[in-house]
């Protein structure tokens, strides 16, 4: 709620230069920024949600074919990536804690590590995509998925057209996720530069917080993607 004082606009020099003119208090500004980011993440949930919905429907209809296709993607790499992202979320939290407690060096280190982990994730993704390209599992004219057994049903082969749908959704889902990671890297580059220039103090580190929220969200999307895509019927 907005503050009832109008003192913030007497330019006494008591307020933070980062306070924007249309806000009455720093608290209002911080709350608004945070709220805005949560809403934006809500839109992202709906965005990925449509995709997850399409995926779940086809997985229900073509379970065996999807299981066969899922077996051909590298779960070890996927699991590694999951670990990488979780570590990167940890470094984000530590960076924010460092800002909150005036630890400039630690903050910069954690921000840099976050970006490193992000790049690592993208690198591993690149390897996976390359593998898929080489195996002709990229949907399109050179797609091929013949004689792949359905897990748990020896002698029964997957329908290549249905498997192609799996791969189409796989690339679109992980591709969109990777795009969001790249945007996240851009955001963190900007945050790093601003942190270097001393923008963040214990009193004001809102951009770090909302950048962190975004990064955590991208992490959570992956945590759903990983089991859905990589771990269909793996116990077979």
């Amino acid at each position: 709620m907005s503050d009832s004082t109008t003192a913030a606009h007497t330019h006494e020099g008591l307020h933070n230069p980062a306070l924007l003119h249309h806000f009455a208090t720093e608290e209002q500004q911080k709350d608004s920024a945070s709220f805005g980011m949560w809403i934006f993440l809500g839109t992202e949930v709906m965005f990925f949600g449509g995709l997850f919905c399409a995926y779940l429907i086809y997985r229900g209809w073509y379970f065996g074919d999807f299981a066969a296709a899922s077996k051909s993607i590298n779960a070890a790499l996927g699991a590694t990536n999951t670990g990488v992202l979780i570590c990167s979320s940890l470094t984000v939290v530590l960076a924010i804690w460092a800002a909150h407690t005036s630890r400039r060096g630690l903050m910069l280190l954690m921000l840099a590590l976050t970006m490193l982990f992000g790049l690592g994730f993208l690198g591993i993704k690149g390897i996976e995509y390359h593998d898929k390209f080489v195996e002709h599992h990229v949907p399109g004219t050179s797609f091929s998925f013949e004689h792949e057994e359905i897990p748990g049903h020896p002698g029964q082969y997957a329908n290549a057209r249905h498997a192609e749908i799996f791969f189409a959704l796989y690339f679109i889902m992980t591709g969109l996720h990777a795009l969001h990671m790249i945007v996240g890297l851009g955001i963190f580059t900007w945050l790093f530069i601003k942190a270097w220039r001393g923008m963040f103090t214990p009193r004001y580190y809102t951009p770090l917080e909302i950048g962190g929220l975004y990064w955590h969200f991208v992490d959570i999307v992956w945590i759903y993607l990983f089991p859905l895509l990589y771990l269909i019927d793996r116990h077979q």
Partner: protein, 546 residues
């Protein structure tokens, strides 16, 4: 409030504070951004209207003799896309909402002024993409993009149109996000939720839909574009996909989208009826909650567009039942507006004439929705002109009339000038008559069986089509008139006092036009919304209409 006279020297306001193209294109003032939107959406309105004109001209004769079939198909597609995504969805929120939401709650600006400007730039980029698409071949899939036609059979620029709408959707999401945060966090002291103008409640509900629904059409368009570009099979049965999946995803957004288009207009009409009846709205709480109810229920009815599409009988039953549920809050609003007139003191200024028009036409449009929600009738009238008449009654008879009423009502505040009242009343009447002549015959055509998207038809449908086209020309005149006299008034209109209508609402306490930061001092609200009894009792406060 300000004094009764207007000084000889023009006071500083948001229009004259800075000059130059740069000061407009880089502004973060919500009022200037509103005007930037006003110019852009008016431009697209005329583009969409031009396509409508060609459609109606073609339909004067049963044969397809004015345009080629492919061209006609592009005309109705682009008419729909431009009108829905580039006119109706932004119109009231981006123009009146942007201008008024901060002022109505006593704030200096929206929560995120730079994001507001970004949302306009996204709209412009999307608009340029759409224009380019239309000028370099166009798109002919119908605004509904049904697969597999759009993904595997159409030879037109589906990808470009899809991407343009994707970008426009992002603009819409940012506007909604801005409004929700602003309404939650930036209300002036004393402005509690139950003191908010119902215009704010309506925009809040609209913003919820924009935030939750638009991303789904975004991902749907991404899938369509990917399928078309890479020859995937997500929606193509020949490749294992399901065309009905597209329809579900598409309508999951596009049905709530129609509530994005009508809710703000309902908010406008509420403000106008209260002001020109000099009364608090009857049943404030019910009207406020009905906006939220429409937003919530609106997400539960999408498959009523698919009753004959091949869904199961049981799914159809559920969606029909829910569609009747969503009709109830709209009916409640109509009753409350009517009851507000009871024992009021009613003025017939142009905004009120538009509000009356809205009441009549929205009632008819809404009632015909009951026909469509009925499974037994929808079987017959789905995909016919009956549907076209229904949604034009709501979109044009409802949303557009609300928009025009709102533009007239707040014009003195926005521009500092008064529009010519006589011409405005005439225009309202012409619009009402032209509208009914254009669209009522289409109900009959639809029940007779004339399908949508037909450019040639059996000869026995001609008389009704000619009536409809005749009406469209009258309607066009009615729309051109405000364009002309609003522009005229900016140069030659009488200067407006701060509150020409003696209306309630914080926006009327500012000068006309307002200063850049709206309020000299942050207001502290101690009165209820629509306190017309206090306003009318206290004549000292009142300025005389010019």
């Amino acid at each position: 409030m300000a004094t009764a006279t207007v000084p000889a020297v023009e006071r500083e306001n948001y229009l004259n504070k800075h000059y130059g193209v740069g000061s407009w294109l880089l502004t973060t003032d919500h009022k200037r951004i509103a005007l930037l939107y006003l110019m852009s959406i008016t431009f697209f309105f005329f583009i969409g209207g031009f396509f409508a004109l060609l459609i109606r001209l073609e339909l004067l004769t049963p044969a397809g003799d004015l345009l080629q079939a492919d061209t006609y198909n592009k005309m109705f597609t682009q008419h729909g896309q431009v009108m829905v995504f580039f006119f109706l969805i932004p119109s009231i929120p981006a123009v009146l909402g942007n201008f008024l939401v901060p002022m109505m709650i006593g704030a200096k600006d929206l929560a995120f002024p730079r994001i507001n400007l970004l949302s306009w730039y996204l709209y412009i980029i999307a608009g340029l993409m759409m224009l380019h698409c239309m000028l370099t071949g166009g798109v002919d899939t119908g605004w509904t993009f049904y697969t597999p036609f759009s993904t595997a059979f159409s030879n037109t620029k589906v990808i470009e149109a899809g991407l343009a709408i994707f970008v426009a959707g992002f603009s819409s999401i940012l506007t909604g996000l801005n409004f929700v945060v602003t309404i939650h966090r930036m209300r002036a002291p004393g402005m509690t939720w139950s003191r908010l103008p119902l215009f704010i409640w309506a925009h809040y509900a609209t913003s919820i839909i924009q935030i939750l629904g638009t991303p789904v059409i975004a991902i749907t368009l991404v899938l369509v574009v990917a399928e078309r570009a890479l020859h995937l099979g997500i929606f193509d049965p020949r490749l294992g996909g399901d065309p009905l999946l597209f329809q579900h995803l598409f309508w999951f957004y596009s049905h709530p989208a129609v509530y994005i288009m009508i809710l703000p207009s309902m908010g406008v009409v509420t403000e106008i009826i209260a002001c020109f009846s000099r009364k608090r709205i009857f049943g404030y709480t019910f009207v406020a909650l009905s906006s939220i109810a429409i937003a919530v229920f609106g997400f539960l009815v999408w498959a009523h567009h698919m009753f004959v599409a091949g869904i199961s009988v049981y799914a159809a039953l559920i969606f029909s039942l829910l569609s009747y549920a969503v009709a109830v809050p709209s009916a409640v609003k109509v009753f409350n507006w009517t009851a507000t007139l009871y024992k009021g003191s009613i003025h017939y200024d142009a905004p009120m004439l538009y509000a009356f028009g809205f009441l009549g036409l929205f009632t008819i449009g809404g009632l015909t929705g009951l026909f469509l929600a009925s499974l037994g009738i929808d079987m017959h009238v789905h995909d016919t002109y009956f549907v076209i008449a229904h949604f034009h009654y709501i979109m044009v008879g409802g949303a557009l009339m609300g928009y025009l009423g709102g533009m007239h009502f707040w014009w003195p505040k926005i521009s500092g000038k008064l529009y010519p009242e006589g011409w405005a009343r005439l225009a309202a009447l012409i619009v009402f008559i032209g509208f009914n002549l254009t669209f009522f015959p289409q109900f009959i055509l639809g029940y007779l069986g004339m399908p949508r998207r037909y450019y040639q038809y059996p000869p026995e449908y001609q008389v009704l089509n000619v009536l409809s086209t005749a009406g469209a020309t009258v309607l066009a005149v009615g729309y051109l008139m405000p364009m002309i006299y609003f522009l005229w008034s900016m140069r030659y209109g009488k200067p407006a006092p701060n509150n020409p209508w003696k209306a309630a609402g914080l926006e009327w306490t500012t000068q006309s036009p307002p200063t850049t930061f709206n309020f000299d001092e942050e207001p502290v609200v101690t009165w209820e919304a629509y306190n017309y009894d206090e306003i009318d009792a206290d004549h000292k406060e009142v300025t005389v209409v010019g």
